[in-house]
């Protein structure tokens, strides 16, 4: 993939050049292609655009549109002001951010250590450990035994660690990181060893800096996993709404349509600028989107490299 980009990107500076042997596309073909790709892009963008716009729209625009807003008639931050003034949503947002942060750190530390530990060819026992990890990708005990192990054996019911530890390690991610680390120049590692560097030192000073792409992508994968999880809350702490994460709040109040508590819009805004209930709901949607939209552009450029150098060549 990276080769694809480079060999296509190299020969031209201004206008994309078609290989000489390739026939000129017909106008109709070209148009069909553009329309198809345009539709694909719009299919992704429009729902997101509509949701963001609705969350920013005052009651009047929601009324005009009769629901979701596509054409802006004035913008307001009232919905956000109300959602973030310390109610359920604010707390859920903080909880989600903390779980994502802590979870990603735990996952990355454990995975990077393990991937490095298994990356040395011919090291003792690495194939056995690898097999142990890989087996988890093909067979799982299922939902019930996992629940029983976490809730019954480890007493994790209603505990935050139950949202972090059970999914902290992904064998798939470890394999990708490992494949990437195995590409690190072995001469460098040998040289460092001769200089008396410990394994941790080698990992920290040589392997990590040379594999930023895969580290960034894997951190994003883990972070998105923690941020997106909603079922584990449903499983381990459904009763106490003050412990819910943002996704579970979204599930309960938006997807399943339960009335949001603390929707004291009537008193707070005295009926004047009261945000539409739909705007409030869409505001929750946007809040779950924002962290992803913030981080995505920074990591997106590494996808091809991070995913494929490891996976295909490893």
């Amino acid at each position: 993939m990276s080769t694809a980009l480079s060999f296509k990107a190299k020969p031209r500076k201004t206008v994309p050049k078609r290989p000489v042997w390739e026939e000129k596309p017909t106008a109709a073909g070209q148009a069909a292609k553009s329309v198809t790709l345009g539709v694909v892009v719009l299919l992704v963008i429009i729902p997101v655009y509509a949701v963001v716009l609705t969350s920013l729209s005052p009651q009047s625009s929601v009324n005009i549109a009769g629901g979701i807003v596509l054409v802006p008639h004035g913008l307001t931050l009232n919905a956000y002001r109300e959602m973030l003034d310390g109610g359920v949503i604010t707390r859920a947002m903080v909880i989600s951010l903390l779980i994502t942060l802590v979870g990603t750190i735990v996952s990355m530390v454990v995975s990077v250590l393990c991937a490095y530990g298994l990356s040395r060819p011919r090291s003792l026992g690495h194939r056995w450990i690898l097999m142990t990890l890989i087996a988890t990708m093909f067979f799982s005990g299922g939902i019930i035994p996992s629940f029983i192990v976490v809730a019954d054996i480890f007493h994790g019911y209603d505990q935050y660690w139950a949202l972090v530890l059970p999914g902290a390690v992904s064998a798939f991610n470890i394999l990708i990181i490992r494949a990437f680390y195995m590409n690190t120049a072995s001469e460098l590692i040998e040289a460092a060893k001769l200089d008396g560097a410990s394994e941790l030192r080698i990992l920290w000073s040589i392997v990590l800096p040379t594999s930023k792409a895969v580290n960034a992508v894997m951190a994003l994968f883990y972070a998105v996993g923690y941020w997106s999880a909603f079922f584990n809350v449903m499983l381990y702490m459904p009763a106490d709404s003050s412990k819910w994460t943002l996704q579970y709040v979204l599930y309960t109040y938006v997807s399943q349509g339960a009335t949001m508590p603390g929707q004291n819009a009537a008193t707070a805004f005295a009926g004047k600028d009261q945000p539409a209930p739909l705007s409030l709901q869409m505001c929750v949607v946007v809040l779950t989107l924002i962290p992803i939209l913030i981080i995505y552009p920074f990591v997106q450029k590494h996808f091809t490299k991070g995913m494929l150098t490891g996976a295909i060549k490893g």
Partner: protein, 336 residues
């Protein structure tokens, strides 16, 4: 989880057979030279580094595998895992006698087939189409956009679909303003399988092209040039060069899809179960959850989960055999 599991095999295949034959050979010669103690003294820091991950996997992946003994117990939450009564295969007898279970099984299979037929070709076609875009700027822009939904949670995706296609959504607003009959796609059990497939396409098809783009990129361009010189047009080149060049990746992903046939996406169904009813949306995973945790019949739920795990393993094995039959590596080579 399910999204990753679809792709998970890619890494296995690549990581596993990739280093297996050489390292196996090397190992045989090396182990003779170096005794265990020497290797332990040399490699103990590496082993120590793998320990945290190993502990987590043992605690949360392997213990639950042994936890499947609940499937043979009359599990009582108060008594706990150790003290509950052993009832043998009673749970399985109950399970197989339950028409709801067979209904969930049937739903799973049907949904899996629909997804295979309607979902699978989309990323392949999209990758070929995108690869034909010459401008790398436009191409990376489109890639950045279509990869994005992969990082949305299922709750988010379904809320977006609700706002577009649901009862109060955009589609029905347009239908109503034009005087047509409203159609709440989100609660229509008849079309539910197509709805979930389109959700899966919306969320994952864009991300799915990443592998296919890589496969296309690895095709030697001289082949295209030669074919063009011989008078093969665009379509024939796609058919005779591009698609065969993607063949092993396509077969690999098909094998994985078949092996994962019973994983049709748990959260997606869980979230929409209330809206569309259990008739259309009950799959093996939701059955296991609702009968196990929600209805407090843990033994039955665990039995359903174990049934699914074993069948999945058999499917994976079978799909891989089929791949070998067609001369492809599949998930692993014949050595395992």
């Amino acid at each position: 989880m399910s999204a990753i599991s679809v792709r998970s095999g890619t890494a296995t295949t690549e990581a596993e057979p990739g280093d297996k034959p050489p390292s196996a050979k090397r190992k045989r010669t090396r182990t003779k030279k170096l005794p265990f103690r020497v290797r332990l003294r040399r490699d103990w820091p590496l082993l120590l580094m793998a320990v945290p991950a190993l502990l987590l996997v043992i605690a949360f992946n392997y213990l639950p595998m042994f936890g499947t003994v609940t499937a043979f117990e009359y599990y009582d939450y108060i008594l706990g895992f150790w003290q509950s009564t052993w009832i043998g295969v009673q749970n399985f007898q109950n399970l197989f006698a339950d028409p709801n279970f067979w209904h969930a099984f049937e739903n799973t299979i049907v949904l899996s087939i629909v997804q295979l037929v309607l979902y699978f070709p989309v990323p392949v076609a999209l990758a070929i189409l995108l690869n034909s875009v010459l401008s790398s700027k436009i191409r990376s822009f489109i890639q950045a956009i279509v990869y994005l939904p992969h990082f949305f949670s299922w709750v988010l995706v379904i809320v977006l679909f609700q706002q577009m296609l649901g009862g109060a959504g955009l589609l029905n607003h347009v239908l109503l303003t034009h005087g047509w009959n409203p159609w709440n796609v989100m609660t229509d059990p008849g079309t539910f399988k197509y709805l979930v497939t389109s959700q899966a396409v919306w969320k994952e098809a864009g991300w799915g092209i990443i592998v296919f783009l890589a496969a296309i990129a690895s095709i030697d361009t001289a082949l295209y040039e030669a074919a063009a010189a011989d008078g093969a047009n665009r379509w024939r080149r796609t058919w005779h060069i591009t698609l065969p060049g993607m063949r092993s990746v396509i077969v690999l992903l098909l094998v994985l899809r078949l092996g994962n046939a019973l994983n049709v996406g748990f959260e997606q169904f869980l979230i929409q179960r209330n809206a569309v009813g259990s008739g259309a949306s009950e799959v093996l995973d939701t059955y296991s959850y609702y009968y196990g945790v929600a209805a407090n019949n843990f033994g039955l739920g665990a039995a359903a989960g174990l049934f699914k795990g074993v069948v999945s393993l058999l499917l994976l094995y079978g799909a891989n055999k089929v791949a070998h039959f067609f001369g492809e590596d599949g998930l692993y080579r014949g050595t395992k």
